[in-house]
Each structure stands twice: as structure tokens, then as C-alpha cells.
């Protein structure tokens, strides 16, 4: 068992899969350029030393090409793992992801598969509105794409391996403040954790209960899971016992674990850094309303970034991104109902 950061755990996963399967390769901008960073967040640093630049492919700044080449290479028997540097650049490749990658298997009636991984760093980090977004909800709306968001080092390795082995396009959202790589970020959390040396995978569609409690169910992903845990710690001292669930994958989504928790608590709070309007929390809330409204003793509470672009100024950014205090305060109100 090694204690690794998420950035290191992701690298181990990619490295092990590249060793095990010659069809796996990495592509993107600034991938392990000598003297460079290894993507924007160090994940691919050092991979070229082992695998050479034939399998660690540096691309032009051409997002359409990156995504399209992944689709084509995947259809032709490879397993590309592409790095976006910043998830915000996903919009430059939307056609290839949404019209091509997601639909090839379906349009061909299952003749072709597209096993590709698109890694998208996300989250607000004092970089302004175009390097800050939490984009995962957009892609949950596209049939044919899988969407995952690992928040621990253990999950990062296990889910990345699962993503690389999956025969479908998988978008991996990695939070910039959770990487813990050598690149320091203001406000980053220490998300290092124990990671087995041996081969293992973490299946998609299975949420993790990060903290058990009987009063309120809080479902939160990525950085917000840590904020929710921080709030739960405070609330515990006030006698409010929160159960914190990390969905880990949004497509497929583990509704069962949420419903099982609501059987105990009857109260649901959803927290995400993604915007409020049509964020994945809206889907979860409506699912609960449709399928299990009788489990609820109070209205669903959604804590999300308000529907504004992410501002640069650090106090403004802190104001819009959900905080542990905001979660705790909303939980106190919810506990009274």
C-alpha cells in the first residue's frame, strides 16, 4: 500500500494499463515535454520515459483533432487516454464528443465501439471564468457517454483503470484542488490516500458512503464531498448526524445508495460545484420526487454555484463556490424541518 496523491494515483493507473495493454496510449497538449509539466497538472509527467513518444503523443493545440483522433483510433482497436488540460476546452471538441464518440456505437447498431477516455480537470481555482467550470452535468445529458468524478486517490486509480478498460467513451472529471501534485494551487485540499500497489478496479455506478449518519443525507461530488464532510464534522458536534454520499460516477448513477440512505434520514441535500440550473443535482432531486417522494420528510435542498460565470477575484470566487459554512447553515435549517 502506498500513500499517493490523486495525480500520482491517476498516473499509476495509466502506467499500469499501458504496461498491460499495448493498445493504450496517451495523447494531448504538453504531454511530458522534457522540462514541461506533464499535462497541466503533472499526471502524465514521466510516462514518455517509460513508453516513448510513440505512446505519449503530443498534439497541436487542436481539440477537435484530439477528440476526433481518439474516436477514430478507438474504432480501429486502440484505447486512447486524452488529456484536456482544462475541462473548459471540452467545448472546443463538442461535435466529436457528442455527435461522434457518443453515437457511433448506436448509429452503427453495435458494429463499432469507441473505447476512449477524456480526462477533464475541473473546478474553480482563481483562474477566471474560462479555466474554472464544473462541466460534468452537460455530459450526463448525452446518451452514450459515461461520466465519472473520482475524489479520492483510491478511486482515482481504480476508476481510471476501469475507464481505460471500458469499451465506451468515458469522461473523467478531476478536480484541480484535489490533485495534490507538485503544482501547488491556492485552496487545494490534501486528498492523498492509501492506494494498493496491485491491480484493482472500482466499478462505475456504485456510490461511496463517506460518512454514516441518520439525520440528513448529503450527496456531494469531487471537492464538494470534502466540503460536505467538513460541514458534517461541525454539525456532528451540534447533534446533527449527516450521511455523506459521494456518487463517484454520474453516468451510470447509483440511485439505490441514495434511496437506502433516505430510508434512514428522510432528508436530502445535494451539493455540487456545477451551476444550479440543470446541474446533476436537479436530476437526482427529480428522480427522488418521481420514485420515492414518500421517503422525504422535507423539501430537497440543493446547494450549487449560482448561475453566474466564475469570477476571478478570490473573495468573489469564494462567495459563489459552495463552502462548508454554507452547507452547514443549510443543513441546520433542514434539520429543523
Amino acid at each position: 500500500m502506498a500513500v499517493l496523491s490523486i495525480a500520482e494515483a491517476l498516473k499509476r493507473a495509466i502506467q499500469e494499463e499501458m504496461r498491460a495493454d499495448p493498445t493504450v496510449f496517451v495523447m494531448g497538449e504538453d504531454e511530458d515535454i522534457p522540462g514541461g509539466m506533464g499535462g497541466a497538472f503533472t499526471v502524465t509527467k514521466g510516462l514518455a520515459d517509460e513508453f516513448g513518444f510513440e505512446r505519449v503523443i503530443n498534439t497541436p493545440i487542436s481539440e477537435i483533432l484530439i477528440a476526433g483522433a481518439c474516436v477514430g483510433a478507438a474504432m480501429a482497436g486502440m484505447r486512447p487516454v486524452a488529456d484536456l488540460q482544462y475541462g473548459d476546452f471540452l467545448f472546443c471538441m463538442m461535435d466529436q464528443l457528442v455527435n461522434q464518440a457518443a453515437k457511433m456505437c448506436y448509429m452503427s447498431n453495435g458494429q463499432v465501439k469507441v473505447p476512449m477516455v477524456m480526462r477533464a480537470p475541473c473546478g474553480a481555482t482563481n483562474r477566471g471564468a474560462q479555466h474554472a467550470q464544473s462541466l460534468e452535468s452537460y455530459f450526463t445529458h448525452v446518451p452514450g457517454l459515461k461520466v465519472i468524478c473520482p475524489s479520492t486517490a483510491y478511486d482515482a486509480k481504480g476508476m481510471m483503470k476501469q475507464a481505460i478498460r471500458d469499451d465506451n467513451p468515458v469522461l473523467v472529471f478531476e478536480h484541480k484542488l484535489l490533485y495534490g501534485g507538485n503544482r501547488k494551487e491556492a485552496g487545494q485540499l490534501n486528498a492523498v490516500g492509501e492506494v494498493p500497489e496491485e491491480d484493482y478496479t472500482v466499478p462505475f455506478g456504485k456510490a461511496a458512503v463517506r460518512r454514516a449518519g441518520g439525520d440528513i443525507t448529503i450527496v456531494a461530488n469531487l471537492l464538494m464531498c470534502y466540503k460536505a464532510l467538513e460541514a458534517a464534522e461541525v454539525l456532528e458536534r451540534e447533534g446533527i448526524h449527516c450521511e455523506v454520499i459521494d456518487p463517484r460516477s454520474l453516468v451510470p448513477f447509483d440511485y439505490e445508495t441514495v434511496l437506502a440512505s433516505l430510508e434512514k434520514t428522510g432528508k436530502l441535500m445535494i451539493v455540487h460545484e456545477d451551476h444550479y440550473n440543470c446541474g446533476w443535482g436537479a436530476q437526482l432531486a427529480s428522480y427522488v420526487a418521481e420514485q420515492a417522494i414518500t421517503l422525504l420528510d422535507a423539501p430537497v435542498v440543493r446547494i450549487a454555484t449560482p448561475d453566474v460565470p466564475i469570477p476571478f477575484s478570490p473573495p468573489l470566487e469564494r462567495f459563489v463556490i459552495p463552502s462548508a459554512e454554507r452547507i452547514a447553515q443549510a443543513a441546520r435549517e433542514l434539520a429543523k424541518l
Binding site: 496510449f25 510513440e54 505512446r55 503523443i57 498534439t59 497541436p60 487542436s62 481539440e63 477537435i64 483533432l65 477528440a67 476526433g68 483522433a69 481518439c70 474516436v71 477514430g72 483510433a73 478507438a74 474504432m75 480501429a76 482497436g77 486502440m78 486512447p80 461535435d95 466529436q96 455527435n99 461522434q100 457511433m104 456505437c105 448506436y106 448509429m107 452503427s108 447498431n109 453495435g110 458494429q111 463499432v112 465501439k113 469507441v114 473505447p115 446518451p143 452514450g144 459515461k146 469499451d167 465506451n168
Partner: protein, 326 residues
């Protein structure tokens, strides 16, 4: 002028061209009869491009087509019956009714699902070429696109990388002068919209009479050989002309009559037929016999497809994700 091929080869090419012509004309009438669903983007008039490019491609070489895919698919070897069934949305269609007229293909013969986003197939073809290169195969991918696609960002991102990485891809611009209803002259300053934008990416190019199947085939041979031997991509710009409109119900009111007359006089199927007779490669009777056999094959496919069952409704929910058994 290219050397005239032997009889078998000449008739083989003509058979494919006449098949595409017959198929597309039959589809048009089925559409006018009102019994064919959806829309159509037809390739009659451009038969020499499809057949010239694909005639010598190996079955394990791949081909990426566009929203106007029927000629390419038929030339690559997709079955006429499976194509026709797909046009009717039937279960036995090449895509089980999931694809339709703009997404036909059959991976078993190297025809990937055709792409209805202009320029969408270009980076995918690059990826296929990249895979062939990484797998150390000598396969090539032929990627068709229209004149309008050369104005897409995907064109430039793809060509830059393809030239850089010397990918085994033959990029084929079928320049039929119009992007839907807009003359390419209104949207690009260059005469050769693709070929004139090849050298800037370090890619060799040729401008070819796209209505002369032998000229196309000769250029294809050079480009395919270059790609197969590790010499990298080629951009071929084939000058051609749609006989029909962009899509259904397009009467081509935007095309000058003199222009149409010029191109219709250069009909690729008629030209090659006349050439075969002129070269003495076949007799009139032999050609008529070949044509009747093709017409019978297409007619059989039409009747078969009309009578074939639709897929069960539940199949609409299948193949969103890959399953091993699929």
C-alpha cells in the same frame, strides 16, 4: 490520358458505377412515390469519384464517408440489399434502422458509419490512420469530404496533424461546386478549395477530373501507395458535379443552366461507357447484359426492403453502450 485497363477491370469499374447510378435513381423515384421515409443526399453524377478511389482499396482498408454516402458504401462493398433496407428503416438495414441514409456503413467491409456532420469524419480518419500507424499495419484510410468541409475548423486541425505525423490517410475532396445551395465561390477565395490548402500543411495534393474514373483511379493509386508505404497523407481534389439537388426537394434553382449543361455533357457513367466501346473492351450487347443484371439486383433489393419487417420497437433502446454480444 491514363492507360486503358483490361476488360475485366474496366467492366468491374463500370459495373460499380452503373450500380451507384441505378441505385440513386431508384431511390429518387421511391422518394417521389412517397414511400421512402426521411431525407436523401444523392451521389449520382459523382460515381467516378467513389469507384475510382475505392476500386483498389483492400477490404481491410477503411473508408470514412459523408452525408452523401451511398456511392462510397456501394463502391466499398456494402450490400445493396442492406443499404436499401436501411433506407426504409428496416431491421435488416446495414445499421438495423439506427442509422438511416446519412449513416450507412458496414465495418466488415471497412466502411465506418457515414458522418452527417460536415467535416466530422476528418479527425476520425486521422485517428484511424494513427491507429494503423501505431499497430504497424500497412492499411490506409480513405476519407471523403465535400468542398464546404474545407472551410471547417476540423479540416485545418486534421490536416495540420496528418501532415505532421505522416498519417496513412487519403483525403478526398469531392468538389461539386456547391455547399448545399451556396456556390463555393461565395465562401472561399481559392479555386481549389482543398488542394490549394494542402501545401501549407506539408501535404502533397492533386487536382483531378472527378468525372473521369480512370484519372481518379490513377491518382488514387499514387495516393494509396504513398500512404501504404509510410509516405503520409495526400489531398486529392476531384472536380465533379451532383446530378441531383443537395437533398430531397432541391430543384437546384441556384445553378445556372449552362453550367448544368456543361457538366451533364461530362456525365461520368456515359463517358466511361462510351470509352469502353471505343476501346473495344466490350460490346454493346455485353454492356446491356451487365446493366440489366445491375437493374435486376437493385429491383430485387427494393422489393426485398419494401417487404422486410421493421425492427422491434425495443431495439431503439439497444446499443447506446457497447455490449460484447453486439
Amino acid at each position: 490520358m491514363e492507360q486503358f485497363p483490361g476488360k475485366e477491370r474496366a467492366l468491374g469499374m463500370y459495373q460499380k458505377m452503373f450500380l451507384i447510378r441505378t441505385y440513386e435513381e431508384r431511390i429518387y423515384y421511391l422518394f417521389l412515390e412517397g414511400i421512402m421515409p426521411g431525407t436523401i443526399h444523392q451521389s449520382h453524377g459523382e460515381e467516378a469519384c467513389a469507384v475510382g478511389m475505392l476500386y483498389d482499396l483492400r477490404p481491410d482498408d477503411w473508408m470514412a464517408s459523408t452525408h452523401r454516402p451511398a456511392g462510397h458504401d456501394l463502391a466499398k462493398g456494402v450490400s445493396v440489399r442492406a443499404m436499401m433496407c436501411e433506407m426504409f428503416g428496416k431491421a435488416e438495414g446495414c445499421c438495423g434502422g439506427h442509422g438511416g441514409a446519412m449513416h450507412t456503413g458496414d465495418i466488415r467491409v471497412g466502411a465506418i458509419p457515414a458522418n452527417a456532420i460536415v467535416g466530422g469524419n476528418l479527425p476520425i480518419a486521422a485517428g484511424i490512420g494513427l491507429a494503423f500507424q501505431m499497430q504497424k499495419k500497412d492499411n490506409v484510410c480513405v476519407c471523403f469530404f465535400g468542398d464546404g468541409a474545407s472551410n471547417e475548423g476540423s479540416y485545418h486541425e486534421t490536416m495540420n496533424a496528418a501532415g505532421l505525423w505522416k498519417l496513412p490517410v487519403v483525403f478526398v475532396c469531392e468538389n461539386n461546386l456547391y455547399s448545399a445551395t451556396t456556390s463555393i465561390k461565395l465562401t472561399c477565395v481559392l479555386e481549389n478549395v482543398a488542394a490549394d490548402r494542402a501545401a501549407v500543411y506539408g501535404i502533397p495534393s492533386e487536382v483531378v477530373d472527378g468525372n473521369d474514373v480512370l484519372a481518379v483511379n490513377a491518382a488514387a493509386g499514387r495516393a494509396i501507395a504513398r500512404a501504404r508505404s509510410g509516405g503520409g497523407p495526400t489531398i486529392l481534389e476531384l472536380k465533379t458535379y451532383r446530378h441531383g439537388g443537395h437533398s430531397r426537394n432541391d430543384a437546384c434553382g441556384y445553378r445556372p443552366k449552362e453550367e448544368e449543361a456543361y457538366w451533364f455533357a461530362r456525365d461520368p457513367v456515359h463517358r466511361f461507357r462510351a470509352r469502353i466501346l471505343e476501346e473495344g473492351a466490350a460490346t454493346e450487347e455485353e454492356l446491356v447484359q451487365l446493366e440489366e443484371a445491375v437493374q435486376a439486383e437493385v429491383e430485387e433489393a427494393v422489393e426485398y426492403a419494401k417487404a422486410a419487417p421493421f425492427p422491434p420497437n425495443e431495439s431503439a433502446l439497444e446499443h447506446v453502450f457497447w455490449k460484447e454480444e453486439s
